[in-house]
């Protein structure tokens, strides 16, 4: 059995090696390209969101490459996402593919996930299942930490491209760490790699908070790599959504990290008092939090037809008006034009720069 899981940011780096070492024949989908997107779009309902289309493209490409089993998170999802596995399975069956598909019924329930791992791997007892699962989570957290370093160092680097190389090297190191002890050691090395980058210490970059629907926000292929574009415009990114935070909210593996969903709900009070699906609570709460922390502006990312983020978008534009706080919403789907995205990003950065100059000259 060759197992594949659709891509989501760097998640595949966290699990592939570990599951392989435990007897699972893992085959992550080929890296998403235009071909992936075209395949996904051709076979998806038009108004399904971009994550659905990219997932489906990943699945088709994996099946073509020889995979015969798909694992897709599902269950009562945060939004329409909960149905996606079922619909994708149907579409793939109609296309004539033969495969086994499992959707995790309740992605929030730990024992469910451990059972799934026991099912597909050579691990036969629960404690080992926990040990492997938590190692994957810790690796994910390490990858996210490396990316956060990248966001900090990229706008300050003196030699162009040095930070990109540091990130590549860090990902390689983290990928090679297949035990808790090794991962612990590699974390120090990653920190050192980034600290060795030559940076302009006096330069104070603009800081933009990046919030929105989690898949499109963390997947560079889906958002035309806006984070890299902003980094090259010498803007520091303060990301509000992380895959490891999302996982930590459910499985509590980072003892000192607060539950981000609950934290956001506290901040969002008065603007959004009830969860409205997806990351809407995080988007609203963290917009208010970033405003208080003096982040210069918010870039809000969402897929076209995303209901939860549409709700959040309406609310954060209200916040923008109330607090005189710049917010730029960007919607992504397969039709998005890069020229348009770049022009709006540049204009937004200019806007923030001018505001900062005004603020400094007033004080």
């Amino acid at each position: 059995m060759k197992l594949t899981v659709p891509h989501m940011g760097m998640l595949h780096i966290a699990y592939t090696r570990i599951l392989r070492e435990n007897g699972v024949d893992m085959m992550p989908p080929p890296k998403a390209t235009v071909k992936t997107l075209n395949l996904g779009v051709r076979h998806s309902p038009e108004f399904a969101c971009l994550p659905f289309k990219i997932n489906l493209g990943n699945m088709i490409e994996s099946l073509e490459a020889g995979a015969d089993a798909i694992l897709m998170p599902g269950g009562y999802g945060p939004c329409r996402f909960g149905y996606y596995g079922i619909i994708q399975e149907q579409i793939l069956r109609e296309l004539g593919y033969k495969f086994r598909m499992s959707t995790t019924d309740n992605p929030d329930k730990l024992s469910d996930l451990i059972d799934t791992i026991k099912d597909i791997s050579s691990i036969k007892n629960r404690p080992d299942g926990y040990r492997v699962f938590y190692l994957i989570l810790m690796r994910m957290a390490a990858l996210d930490r490396a990316l956060a370093f990248y966001h900090y160092y990229k706008p300050r680097e003196i030699n162009r491209g040095e930070t990109d190389r540091a990130l590549e090297e860090s990902v390689r190191l983290i990928d090679s760490a297949n035990t808790y002890v090794k991962l612990f050691m590699e974390n120090f090395r990653v920190k050192r790699i980034f600290r060795d980058i030559r940076i302009d210490k006096r330069f104070k970059p603009l800081r933009i908070g990046v919030l929105g629907e989690i898949f499109v926000t963390i997947e560079p292929f889906a958002n035309l790599d806006v984070e890299k574009k902003l980094g090259e415009m010498r803007v520091e990114i303060v990301r509000g959504v992380w895959l490891s935070d999302w996982l930590n909210d459910r499985f509590r593996f980072k003892p000192f990290r607060r539950n981000q969903a609950k934290l956001s709900a506290l901040w969002a009070k008065g603007y959004l008092d009830y969860p409205s699906g997806g990351e809407s609570m995080e988007t609203v709460g963290k917009t208010l939090m970033f405003h208080r922390k003096g982040i210069d502006g918010i870039l809000h990312i969402m897929p076209f037809t995303c209901m939860p983020e549409l709700v959040a978008s309406t609310i954060i534009h209200r916040i923008s008006k109330d607090k005189n706080y710049p917010v730029l919403s960007m919607t992504f789907d397969e039709h998005v034009s890069e020229a348009n995205i770049v022009t709006r990003l540049e204009a937004f950065v200019d806007l923030l720069e001018r505001r900062r100059v005004e603020r400094l000259s007033r004080n």
Partner: protein, 322 residues
């Protein structure tokens, strides 16, 4: 325009390579326009730029160009060809020129060939903007297409609209539906003037629905971009929101003026000189087959040498040294 042939003229050049037209202006330090050129890109931005440069040389003789700013959707191309000191997006460029002209401006409505923008300004600073993202309904290309279908020139569109007493109501949500609705109205027997006026109304409504939703359009409002040439659109906007729209004298070249204003503090310009117009520049493109992305890579060549490459998402062609 005053001819200053013979004297050495100093100025700053602004280049705005748009989707439909290419604008080049020469301004002095105070921002007054010394020379300008407005011509159709005709799908050949390099040719358009070169011919603008050669007519600049013909009109003014020797000019000391102290700085060059590039904007518009073809700003990167303009930079590679002419060598620009600053490459700025259209939104900032338009805001800079409008603020220069009218320091207390609060709203800028800009409608060009293929995109439209709304820029809000408070105390001389851009505070918000929006730009059409998915639909070209309500831009110059749409108007031009419809004018051609009705058999009148784009320049006459405005005067037709102003002669109408009761504009026909045309569905403006989408260009395709607008067109079929127009045909329907023609067949019902509405006269040409009413249909043209209805078209202007539809465009104004479409703009306000798409870009201005929930935004506070307060006076003074400046209306610029090529479509401002059409008094029918101005009238439609004023009817729709009951506020005066100010059209600056240089409405079609405001973006280029903004780009030029931004380079007034340049020390040593990167400008390659007006002789660029005599170079044998041509572009070629190929599809990179190294990964399934199959990016279309574009090259600009000067005779046999490649000057610049772009279009690849991984950057390996763009960063290649020749």
């Amino acid at each position: 325009m005053t001819s200053l042939k013979g004297e050495e003229l100093k100025g700053y050049l602004g280049i705005d390579v748009g989707s439909v037209t290419t604008k080049v202006v020469l301004i002095d330090y105070d921002g007054s326009v010394l020379w300008n050129s407005y011509r159709r890109t005709m799908g050949q931005p390099i040719r358009a730029l070169q011919s603008a440069f050669s007519s600049l040389k013909k009109d003014l003789g020797g000019v000391d160009i102290r700085g060059v700013g590039a904007t518009g959707s073809g700003r990167k191309l303009a930079d590679h060809i002419a060598g620009a000191d600053r490459v700025k997006n259209e939104i900032t460029a338009h805001a800079v020129s409008a603020i220069h002209l009218l320091p207390n401006v609060r709203t800028i409505v800009e409608i060009g060939g293929q995109d439209s923008k709304l820029i809000l300004i408070r105390n001389g600073v851009v505070t918000d903007f929006s730009m059409n993202t998915v639909c070209a309904a309500g831009t110059g290309s749409f108007l031009e297409h419809q004018a051609a279908r009705l058999g009148i020139s784009i320049g006459e569109l405005g005067s037709y609209a102003l002669r109408s007493a009761s504009p026909a109501r045309i569905a403006g949500r989408c260009t395709v539906f607008a067109e079929s609705d127009m045909i329907h109205k023609q067949q019902m027997g509405h006269n040409l003037e009413d249909i043209v006026a209805g078209l202007c109304d539809a465009l104004a409504r479409n703009y306000l629905n798409n870009l201005a939703r929930g935004k506070d359009l307060s006076s003074p409002i400046i209306f610029q971009g090529g479509v401002a040439a059409n008094p029918g659109i101005k009238a439609a906007f004023e009817r729709e929101i009951n506020k005066e729209f100010i059209i600056p004298g240089h409405y079609p070249i405001m973006g280029a003026i903004g780009a030029a204003l931004l380079v007034r503090d340049t020390k040593d310009t990167r400008f390659k000189g007006l002789s660029v117009s005599e170079q044998r520049l041509y572009t070629s493109s190929f599809y990179c087959s190294d990964c399934p992305n199959t990016c279309g890579v574009i090259e600009i060549n000067d005779s046999e040498k490649v000057i610049a490459r772009w279009g690849d998402s991984c950057g390996k062609w763009a960063n290649m040294e020749e």
